[in-house]
């Protein structure tokens, strides 16, 4: 059959959606319990929101879906939302900045071109943003929230990696490179090409070579590692200390809360808007999400000096990795053998009663294939009176019944005892 689905797009089939909704529900309930409010931003945004320095790297911008809208005769381009944080920050600036701190979360789709067509160009993310706070505790809260979501989804072997965009930016400033080259190397690191960027920094300032090698090559698991590094970096410049102090504070708080992590400055892959702590979440070797602090983004949007931090988890990865399946409501497949109006009416009324009591009631013709509900209720008319045949697919047992009340009675007993009708 000729492929009708767009290259690079993906459908979510009923089973996929059930798992998707499960992950979404866990994420939503976690965020709500931490005091976060849900938002949903527009799928279309202006391109210029993403183009200035400090938003998306040129590499990412080359993959956004941008076009002229139907009234775009001025040449102003719009994009399909390529990222969740920038629209959330835009929403905050336009609506919530007066209220100070805002804790927001979202489940949204993002669109970025993917060249091979093997992966979906539409990706779902669940993210949380804590806007209006510069405190290290805000960063730690976000890390803990993300870890809680993954724990509730049954993910094991979740690894947290920490880096610090502020420290990387400070190192670039000390390299003596011109600002444009600093930006380019920072973009390389954010695009995951740390080796190339490091080589550029070392070439610019050979005296930093050992310190940079130590900082980027070694991995630490305690604040002590950062304190050791701070001593080494002090040889380069005291201007690195504020970022390092912030890094140590966050690492210390995570340690005190019993949260394990690995400090890996090379793991800083992310967005150009990051200015402080960076965190990545991995399950095995698979990256499942990340985030960080972005204190310059809201000022860039003329939203005042509001600092902010956030994270996003890759829904597609979570759906794939999440253990268990969502709770399934007991389902009853209803077959009506009486095709008269009276018979159809009885079928609808019985289904409505079952739904009122919290069951899935799925009416289908007797010869139609249907989902594998546990119960099958066949309704027929005998001498003008309705007769019900309730079958339990699990046990293979059946019961002849005279009324809807009897049906409910059996279903309730089965639900309570997990037994089947005798």
């Amino acid at each position: 059959m000729e492929a009708l689905r767009c290259k690079g797009s993906r459908d979510l089939l009923p089973d996929d959606m059930a798992r998707f909704r499960h992950v979404e529900q866990v994420f939503r309930s976690s965020c709500l319990s931490w005091g976060y409010d849900e938002l949903r931003t527009s799928t279309l945004e202006y391109l210029h929101l993403f183009t200035s320095t400090g938003t998306l790297t040129p590499g990412m911008l080359s993959k956004v879906y941008s076009f002229l809208d139907w009234n775009g005769w001025s040449g102003e381009r719009v994009v399909l939302r390529p990222d969740g944080t920038i629209p959330a920050a835009r929403l905050y600036v336009e609506n919530l900045v007066q209220s100070g701190m805002a804790k927001l979360f979202y489940v949204e789709n993002m669109f970025r071109f993917e060249e091979t067509g093997q992966e979906s160009r539409e990706r779902w993310q669940c993210g949380a943003e804590l806007l209006g706070s510069a405190e290290p505790s805000a960063d730690v809260e976000l890390v803990l929230l993300a870890l809680e979501v993954m724990a509730r989804l049954g993910l094991t072997d979740v690894r947290l990696q920490l880096s610090h965009a502020g420290l990387i930016r400070a190192l670039l400033r000390e390299s003596g490179l011109v600002p444009a080259e600093q930006s380019r190397l920072f973009d390389l690191i954010m695009d995951g090409q740390t080796g190339d960027a490091l080589a550029g920094m070392m070439a610019a300032k050979p005296l930093m070579k050992e310190s940079l090698a130590t900082l980027f090559d070694l991995r630490g698991t305690t604040p002590g590692f950062l304190r050791n590094q701070r001593l080494a970096l002090a040889q380069i410049s005291p201007r690195l200390e504020p970022s390092m102090d912030n890094f140590i504070t966050i690492a210390q708080l995570l340690t005190d809360l019993g949260c394990g992590y690995q400090i890996n400055l090379s793991s800083g892959k992310g967005f150009e808007y990051y200015t402080g702590i960076l965190f990545q979440f991995q399950v095995g070797e698979q990256r499942v999400g990340g985030g960080g602090r972005y204190d310059d983004l809201i000022p860039l949007m003329s939203g005042g000096d509001a600092c902010a931090s956030g994270f996003a988890l890759d829904m597609d990865q979570l759906v794939r990795l999440a253990a268990g399946s969502p709770t399934v409501t007991p389902g009853v497949l209803i077959h009506s053998l009486d095709q008269t109006v009276q018979g159809q009416k009885l079928s609808f009324e019985t289904a409505a009663l079952l739904r009122q009591r919290g069951y899935i009631a799925d009416c289908r013709p007797a010869d139609a294939e249907g989902p594998a509900h546990r119960w099958i209720l066949t309704i027929r008319s005998q001498g003008g009176k309705p007769r019900f045949l309730l079958s339990d697919r699990t046990s293979g047992k059946t019961a002849e019944l005279d009324s809807a009340a009897e049906i409910l009675g059996i279903l309730q007993i089965a639900n309570a005892t997990k037994a089947s009708p005798s």
């Binding site: 210029h48 183009t51 320095t53 080359s62 009234n71 005769w73 040449g75």
Partner: protein, 472 residues
């Protein structure tokens, strides 16, 4: 082995023909006088050639309709900057067709460098025939807010009123017009031999390439032509220097419509006087009216953006604009009755289609997996296909020489015609007339901008033209 070669018409046609002939290929029907789009090579019968506008060639080669092509590197880069993974291989630069792409601003502009442009406040408007390269430039230079104004040509006429800068081609190191200042040379290009990637990877094209390479090796790159720099700008005040908020900007067409429109204006008592220093800004004998000569294709968009208050363009281009931007403020105020053409749907005479209805359900029966519709009027063609339920279809934007596309590279052409003779000469037939078009006067809904004086001036121009139109 059969090889398909796409050849350019226009500026690269003569030197490309010379290159092929010096390489020992006898090429018939590839000269500027030829009306055929299919040159022949009697001493290499396996070589199939077709002539296109050079802008179409990278696309035709990238999609695999041709194994090799010759075009300007600028047009190859224009494609690759937007579609870096397209199947286009840049094989070899050719020693002719030198062209730089320069970013220019009006000479009076305070901007002197690209850096100043990138870091300046507000939105930067860039007029250009190269929208993909311009967008790529803006993104890489981290310009926060920019508008690309795609134009069919004459981009240099847009600054400073209608654009902040223009990205324009400059042939063979010709000096930049003194009314403009160059901020940067974005690309230095020449003619280029390009190949389809799969052909390059799987087909033996060496016999042809060896001949071409040998000739190229013998050919020294053409020395840049030394051209006299245009004289310094005249001291008499140009239209740029005067800032009058009530001034009415009138756009006039270039190309083949320029002379008939000038005659029409003359008939209405409106005289244009050329300005030697500003060829695209003739003076006009109407108080408070300024003129600029641009491509008629670009006028509706410019009127919509308020860069012109009135424009003489074709109804076809107004329709094209409104198909793309249905809520545009552009409105037609007067049909001038000159430059009449029909916009028609055309197919090859070989096809069993006699009307638009035939393009619908029998599509698959006649072996068309997808109906390929070529047109310079890409939005009209899109509307035509949608309204007639021609599904599935694919649009092929073209930049001229559109008849060449049928039947090998497209199935249907949406084209304008005066008499239908050219269409018949290319063994094509008209199966539908979409509408008739003539030159018209358009304005924008908010052109007066609240100024009573401006409204009066606009009305005066309309009245003059209306009287002349009635005589036609």
């Amino acid at each position: 082995m059969q090889l398909k070669l796409a050849l350019p018409k226009g500026r690269l046609q003569q030197p490309t023909g010379a290159l092929l002939r010096e390489s020992g290929l006898e090429i018939d029907g590839y000269d500027e006088q030829s009306r055929s789009y299919r040159p022949a090579c009697p001493n290499w019968p396996d070589l199939t050639m077709k002539v296109f506008n050079e802008r179409d060639i990278p696309i035709q080669v990238a999609v695999g309709n041709y194994d090799l092509g010759v075009c300007g590197q600028d047009w190859a880069e224009e494609l690759l900057s937007r579609y870096p993974r397209s199947a286009l291989v840049k094989v070899k630069p050719l020693p002719y067709g030198g062209r730089d792409l320069c970013l220019v601003a009006d000479a009076s502009s305070p901007m002197a460098t690209l850096g100043e442009l990138a870091t300046g406040p507000g939105r930067v408007r860039i007029a250009t025939e190269y929208p993909n390269l311009a967008e790529s430039l803006c993104l890489n230079r981290r310009m926060r807010r920019f508008s690309i104004i795609p134009v069919w040509g004459a981009a240099e006429a847009y600054p400073p009123e209608s654009a902040d800068v223009a990205l324009i081609p400059r042939e063979d190191d010709a000096p930049v017009d003194p009314s403009l200042s160059s901020l940067a040379t974005v690309l230095r290009s020449s003619a280029f031999l390009v190949a389809h990637r799969a052909s390059w990877e799987s087909r033996d094209m060496a016999p042809l390439l060896e001949r071409l390479y040998a000739t190229i090796g013998r050919t020294q790159p053409a020395a840049p032509q030394v051209r006299a720099a245009p004289a310094a700008r005249a001291t008499d005040p140009s239209s740029r220097a005067q800032r009058d908020p009530a001034a009415v900007w009138l756009a006039l067409p270039d190309g083949h419509q320029q002379t008939p429109v000038a005659e029409f204006l003359e008939q209405a008592g409106i005289r244009l006087t050329p300005r030697p220093q500003e060829a695209r800004r003739p003076s006009i004998n109407l108080d408070g009216v300024r003129t600029k000569i641009v491509r008629p294709q670009d006028m509706p968009l410019q009127v919509a953006n308020g860069n012109f208050d009135l424009a003489i363009t074709g109804e076809d281009w107004v329709a094209e604009h409104l198909c793309r931007f249905p809520s545009s403020p552009v409105k037609k105020v007067l049909r001038l009755g000159l430059g009449k053409v029909k916009i028609v749907a055309v197919v090859s005479k070989r096809l069993p289609f006699e009307n638009t209805q035939d393009l619908r359900s029998p599509l698959r029966r006649h072996g068309f997996a997808i109906l390929r519709i070529a047109s310079e009027y890409v939005n009209i063609a899109d509307r035509f296909a949608r309204d007639n339920h021609l599904t599935p279809y694919r649009l092929l934007p073209t930049w001229g020489a559109s008849e060449a596309f049928l039947p090998e590279d497209a199935d249907v052409l949406i084209e304008n015609t005066q008499t239908g003779r050219t269409i018949a000469q290319h063994n094509l037939k008209i199966i539908d007339t979409l509408f008739e078009s003539s030159a018209c006067l358009v304005t924008g809904e908010s052109a007066t901008n609240g100024s009573e004086l401006k409204r009066k001036r606009i009305d005066e121009v309309i009245d003059l033209l209306r009287r002349s139109a009635h005589q036609n």
